[in-house]
Symmetry: D2
Subunit: 229 residues, 4 copies
């Protein structure tokens, strides 16, 4: 990437992973744009990373277009948003299932299309998708998330095949475990480093972003050392 | 299945596979219900199989509930509907992509929920999903179909894990090739038996339906002998 | 298959699945040949199925050639042999690991080559491989079996791609659970039909053998309704 | 890794990837040991990286034990050896198929066992395996390589599950394309960066080696941007 001051767009910016990505991108000299449904709680991160934050409901085509209209063409886009409903299948609310599909998968399509429209004319870029255990395994009582994360993986595969040869690096990450910092109380029962530290995940995203195009990764699975799989 | 006169519901009844399934179910002594967006062209099949036909847009929760309200609880349900838009990714119409997801994947959720609500109290049943090559491979210029078929597979996996131990046989079929009868002009270039004959596919669905529960298949891939894969 | 009196060769004939296959093939009017390391205990099965039994160490090229020299060209061959050593990885005996590879995987190669040499000139046939959970998932403390069953699956995939278009049906079955008849004491804790009944597995093999070549299955996974996966 | 001067052992050291790994490990301050069937041609690499080179036929348990007896306990081991025979299946020499299994897969077992015996008491380490397209897809006319590379992947999966929770990082890389430097004549038809540059592959291995254990990758697939998949 010869761009002297590339722009990273982190979508779904309310998560711990997004914050880690924003910090690492900023530390690497990139400009950072953050998109989230609610930007109010991003103030500290914005200040820390000199980022700009934009409100965006990723399931709405107009809001996605508006977002991209307000920023420069991005060099690096990460799609993190996910919404899910779970529980016994017969009790699932169809409207919540649809919302799961719209935010977790269809939003990925919308952001991908807006991203690639801007990367293609410039001839380079990277578009990464954040998956989960549910991307490759449909668990009981979690059909909606499996549907949406499987769909996002299908999208990423298709885009890698279409846009790889156009010099756009498309990659998909299977985050196979809970995300939490060392002090996260949920991690206590798992022992040291039993949850995926968002900084550690972000480190691998950045290393993948820096890969030479002669050896691009499409898929990387990440899990804590103690995770069953 | 000890039910003396089981009911088979074939959803997405306008396809050649659905017609073959209807005939085989009828020949096996089952009552047959057909659901399709447009039932007008089903007259001949209805007459031949003594089926009942119901109009249903599978992406609409109300229409799916109406459908199930008009039929007896089914013993065997096959979900075949698929809609797709394809072409260069940047030219895809977002509304068409959403429609692809709604009919091919979300409709599967709606039909599954209505089906399982009725199978679970009766303690048995079979729910099969028809996939495609795109269920396991995201092809270039076909992201929407990959998204939807990946999602449907995730749904099927999740349901198999949740409802198998409740004596409901959930299975997913990867139809890896074009479907067409021997005389189909598209098959000419492929040579003899170069497209999947819908009767041959239906034969495997019925054999899977008849499996003893000690050895249920979850996933079967079917392709013509000459198909590249 | 127009052959009036086809020959089925069941390799690894000492298992319950092989016995079920032999009975179903005989009941379907096929001649049956059985190959096993030790044929002494096959007397009852031989009598019941009018089969012929041949001693064969499948890991030995000469013994495999001898076997095929003593029988007519087979129409249907099933490769069942498996040997395994398991336990903490550091305690595994390398000689036992090599034996696991030789019998479970290399024997599959030898039998496949001898089989296909005879099927190819006749222009038809079916060659099926029996896999296990370990064919698609490498479990802790079971590396040798995973190595061998993964290898057998790789062999089957390669053969399906090379010989499908030559009218030879190659298929691979993932038997995902313990095999045992209803009265098997190991099944007690699992409840009714909690182990794969060998007759039920064999039923699916025969249904797959009878598939029309326009819709051949390559891979089928089979598990008991209550099995976790 | 707090070890001040870790030892990297590169097995199968005659390949371009091994040379790149040796250089990157040396540049990162590691001591380097090289093992290869023939060490004669390693002189330049040994001089450049201050490595020690050891002759070793990896399919021979005694030679593998001898190798590990001559070096300190390694912190980082990469298994690269592969041997293959290919061509029409019926023309394959069984002895060559066995050799393919022994070097590509069984050698991986032997090296893994020797490695883990030494890493486990020290409580840390990384063991990486180099796979290929054939690790996940069995191509026509290439059954032996598919068998061996599938087997190696099964080994790696099993080891990751057994030794991850013991603080040993086991990873498997699917190298999906031809390896060659920019000037490689085989790359001419593929255009710029059309083959995997071994330095680029090695870069990802090193980044994976440096991952924090809260987010370890098990599998990474790498291919050139223009590669079909």
């Amino acid at each position: 990437m010869s761009n002297p001051n590339p722009l990273a767009l982190i979508v779904g910016a309310g998560s711990g992973l997004s914050a880690s990505l924003a910090r690492k991108c900023a530390a690497a000299g990139m400009r950072v744009a953050l998109a989230a449904r609610h930007v109010g709680k991003l103030d500290a991160l914005v200040a820390e990373t000199h980022a700009r934050a934009f409100p965006c409901d990723v399931g709405d085509p107009l809001q996605v277009e508006t977002l991209f209209g307000e920023i420069d063409p991005p060099d690096f886009v990460v799609y993190n948003p996910s919404y899910r409903v779970r529980g016994p299948f017969l009790q699932l609310d169809p409207a919540e299932v649809q919302k799961t599909l719209m935010i977790t998968a269809y939003g990925g399509f919308l952001v991908a299309q807006a991203t690639l429209k801007r990367m293609l004319p410039r001839g380079h870029g990277a578009l990464f998708f954040t998956g989960a255990s549910a991307s490759v395994k449909g668990f009981a009582e979690s059909a909606p998330f499996a549907m949406a994360k499987f769909a996002l993986r299908g999208l990423a595969q298709s885009l890698a095949r279409e846009f790889g040869p156009k010099n756009i690096h498309v990659a998909h990450f299977v985050i196979d475990g809970g995300i939490g910092r060392a002090g996260d109380p949920r991690a206590a029962a798992r022992g040291a480093d039993g949850m995926l530290d968002p900084d550690a995940i972000a480190e691998t995203y950045l290393a993948t972003y820096r890969q030479h195009r002669s050896a691009w990764a499409f898929e990387v699975d990440l899990r804590p050392w103690v995770e069953k799989f």
